[in-house]
Amino acid sequence: MIEASWIKTVLRSRIYPSLLQWITTGAFVLVLALALFGPNNAGQNFGMALVWLVWWPLLPLSFLLAGRSWCAVCPFACLMDRVQQGVGVRLPAPLFLRRHGPWMIAVMFVLVTYVDEVWGIHSNARSTGYLLLVVLALAVFFGAFFERRTFCRYVCFIGGIAANYSRAGVIQLRAEPDRCRDCVAQPCYHGAQDTPGCPVFLSPPSLQDSAMCHLCGNCVKNCGPDAIRVSLRRPTVELWENRRPHLSAAVLAAAVIGIVMIEQSALLRSWNPLLDGTGRMLHIDPYVYYPLVYAVLLATFMAAPLIGLMLAAFLSSLGFRSVSRSAPARVLENFATFGSALIPLALAGHVAHGLYHLLTRSRSVPFAFLAMMKWFPGSAGAAWLPNSVVFLVEMAVLISGAASSVWVADRLSRRLIARVSWAACLPHAILLLALLAANLYTVSAMLTQMR
């Protein structure tokens, strides 16, 4: 763990995050205007190119490298804060959300993924505009009625993956309990004269993971005794050190692996035969009833890693039972604990998929900008790198993700029973390798297809 004082200096700065928030808000207004009123051609709409070829592919990587700092500068959060200042009622977050928030976020993420594919949101400017309007309406609603950033903490569909990936990330913000002991006012939580308290209801002295911290810097600015420490750490370390695994995080990690797989598969030539086969199975025309067929396929792709994890947890719990009484012998406990080990692979799959879009298409972003200015230069490619290089990069990311996952599973096992038990670990290792093989297959099939 290396203390990163320069990050702390940034967080303490008065222009952070407000300046960046204003910039992202300006960009958001432009993107929304272009999505609603610009050309409905994704390749000639600068707003679309910015969102789907730059922001969305880079988002998972940003959680790994910079924690949830995107959430600190997110335009929706900025607009929500303004609404709250103007008309905010500041009711406490509803009990339902506090209890089931993580599950709701996971469901929202799956729903947005489904709607994206069925309505072609990423290739249709108007649909992107409508999606942004819906999220904006929700943000305004929660900002107007509920305190702080209830929307970001309990509703935003990105929150689930942001939490998972930030836990695997390299930035950590914690408070020094010794310095906090005599602090009664707790300005880090309640706020001070100039700076509000934690927007997502966190109390730094009791903070144990990086899932929710937005790195907005409010606690750093408010803390008199200078008890907040910001450090750089080894990636994934929190996944095995955290003693309170979340079932929802494990389920989401497995589901995301399935979602990335179906997104990759949809780019393959074998996608249409898969649709045809599913249509035949359901006795319907897969192209007429595409929403239904896609729903079935999405459910199947998400269920496969989940069932695999459940099976591995069952076998692993049997293995643990044979070596230790204190280890997670219950299947669900094992599922949640070792589900954390899926997070690096899910992150790697997401990053690899994002890099594919970024490296093979985002060179068209400047041309989309010029097209917005009604200036059309000569022919130009959309890819930054040849396909073969991009696929090598993707494979390297996937393999390092799988290696990290195996490493996390190994460390979890050592923490739980102070040694490696093959009977307990092997089922999870086999599952991870199977998921890696499936990911590598889709990537290599893509390469073969593009040759």
Binding site: G26, V29, N40, G43, V89, S123, L136, A137, A371, A382
Partner: protein, 188 residues
């Protein structure tokens, strides 16, 4: 903080003004080659998904050229996201369905023109993409490229009205509720 807000507001204003200027601008150019003189008549507004009739006038030495195989194709100006995802043949020929014509065999993967007068050929075109599209007319060995801005459908008025109504209702309700819960309380 005031300085930050001022800088931020200025940035937002610049971005919005730039975007508005860009949306307002327009430009068009044509290229002519071969022995014939080609002239295209494009409707002022061409919209994605709407069938439009394009007219090509073909002349040689000032006389109309009849019975030529007149074809219409499109080509993308640059490789974009949509082009990457597009499955049309190289060269960007993808015009949807055109009218059947005797000259169709000469216009593979393109719309064949139907002669509608002295040296006049009509093309029924249904754009399947929006934004800038290069239309390539070819007749009697000559080619004419006409860039056309295909308009997109406007956003759904119902959705915009619903959004505005919802936001207004939320803000008004929250404002009233806030006054009732905290009488005399100002924004904190």
């Amino acid at each position: 903080m005031k300085g930050t807000k001022a800088v931020g507001t200025a940035l937002v204003a610049c971005i919005l003004v730039g975007g508005a200027l860009a949306l307002a601008g327009a430009g068009r150019s044509t290229v002519l080659n071969g022995d014939c003189q080609l002239a295209a008549q494009i409707p002022a507004a061409v919209r994605k998904g709407h069938v439009t009739t394009l007219i090509l006038q073909v002349r040689q030495n000032g006389r109309p050229v009849d019975h030529a195989a007149a074809c219409l194709a499109t080509a993308p100006l640059f490789v974009s996201l949509e082009d990457v995802l597009d499955t049309t043949p190289a060269g960007g020929v993808d015009l949807g369905s055109g009218p059947d014509s005797a000259v169709r065999p000469a216009c593979t993967n393109a719309i064949a023109g139907t002669q509608s007068g002295d040296g006049r050929y009509a093309f029924e075109w249904e754009p399947d993409t929006a934004g800038r599209v290069n239309l390539i007319f070819s007749a009697a060995g000559s080619t004419l490229i006409v860039p056309v801005d295909v308009g997109s459908e406007p956003p759904s008025a119902i959705i915009l009205i619903l959004f505005a109504t919802f936001v207004a209702a939320v803000l008004i309700t929250a404002g009233c509720l806030r006054r009732r819960l905290r009488p005399g309380g100002a924004a904190s």
